[in-house]
Symmetry: C2
Subunit: 220 residues, 2 copies
């Protein structure tokens, strides 16, 4: 049996944590399952060009979108750069073509807006960064607001940025079994203890949420 290929789409203005959370989890799945090489993570960008993340960090993709082979799990990360992707015909067409044969089509943060713009989330329950939920609805999906990871058929979408870790662990469990996902969680010591309780609009101080909604976000 060939490796299960996870394809992560890179583009200018992607959020680096949206990328590395899932990448760390999926690359751990082979070793954790005792089958090194069973999971293969490939990164691809338009033209195979290096991309600059929001944070300034620069990533070198493995290949170009056009040179990608069969994809089992497609992952579209988010970030301010999604904005330009929503009307990027060739990328949206590429997504539809790849999605036609995936086992899983997934997103982190505002990556779900791109999937929705490609028409892939029409009428499906999905989520996104909290500041993007309204727009997700306008693009034809049925946004949920309280779940961290939403699965509808083969479509799995995560909430903002750091939620990509939770998404990938959930998927790793479905793909390779609970013990494998648990091993990965222990490997990356994912025992989160945020020093504040401000990670969601429900838990953050109301005044802070209001200010961020008013000022807009750098995040897409």
């Amino acid at each position: 049996m060939g490796a299960h290929t996870v394809l992560v789409v890179l583009y200018e203005g992607v959020q680096s944590l949206d990328v590395t959370g899932p990448v760390e989890v999926f690359t751990g799945a082979g070793n954790a399952s005792g089958r090194p090489g069973a999971y293969r993570v490939v990164t691809a960008s338009p033209g195979g060009r290096p991309v600059r993340c929001t944070s300034g960090l620069r990533l070198l993709p493995d290949t170009g979108l056009d040179a990608v082979g069969p994809v089992d799990t497609l992952l579209v990360p988010g970030g301010p750069g999604t904005r330009a992707r929503l009307s990027d015909g060739p990328v949206l067409e590429w997504l539809r073509a790849v999605d036609a044969t995936t086992a899983w089509t997934t997103s982190v943060c505002s990556g779900s807006l791109v999937l929705a713009a490609a028409g892939l989330l029409a009428g499906r329950r999905a989520t996104s960064h909290w500041a993007c939920l309204e727009e997700l609805g306008k693009l034809g999906a049925e946004p949920t607001g309280t779940e961290r990871v939403v699965v509808d058929g083969k479509y799995a979408t995560a909430a903002g940025v750091s939620a990509g870790i939770d998404l990938a662990l959930s998927l790793a469990g479905r793909l390779a079994g609970d013990p494998v996902a648990q091993s990965i969680q222990l490997l990356i010591e994912y025992d989160p203890r945020p020093p504040y309780s401000a990670g969601s609009t429900a838990s953050a101080p109301a005044e802070l949420v209001a200010r961020m909604r008013a000022n807009g976000l750098a995040i897409g």
Copy 2:
């Protein structure tokens, strides 16, 4: 007042999530504090060469270690590549020289082994990836095992991989104030809900911990 410079050391075999967690947090600090540009994140590698992370992801650093200017916060991420750094004379010497004038010297995961090998954690309370705590003690630090982030003087060390997010939020709070750190937490929607309870040796199934200890870890 000049920008507060956060210098993140990159090297072959670094763990990408150790890098991007803190990078996302610190790059958010300028906007969140209403002073864009107040915090500057710079990545540097030996010779300024691109590095390949454990996950296969390739990162392009901003500059070489030798070309780095004044550093306010130094951050050494972990990963299997730390192994080779522990006896890398020039890198250890570079760390000591930079540390001499930092406000904060910090690490994620096995990055603390490198700080300890440079002699910077002698007699100090510190932490590391759970599988590295014994070695951390042999290198002269006083390992704690249960804290997610340990601060001793200007030295702040984090537990494994994902703990870099908690470390950076703690530091952002100290540097820029609680509301800024909370804004960043909300921006990256860091409201973690791991689908399993296996993120620490205390919470993971005992059998799984024993197996991982016996088989060794790919992580350094």
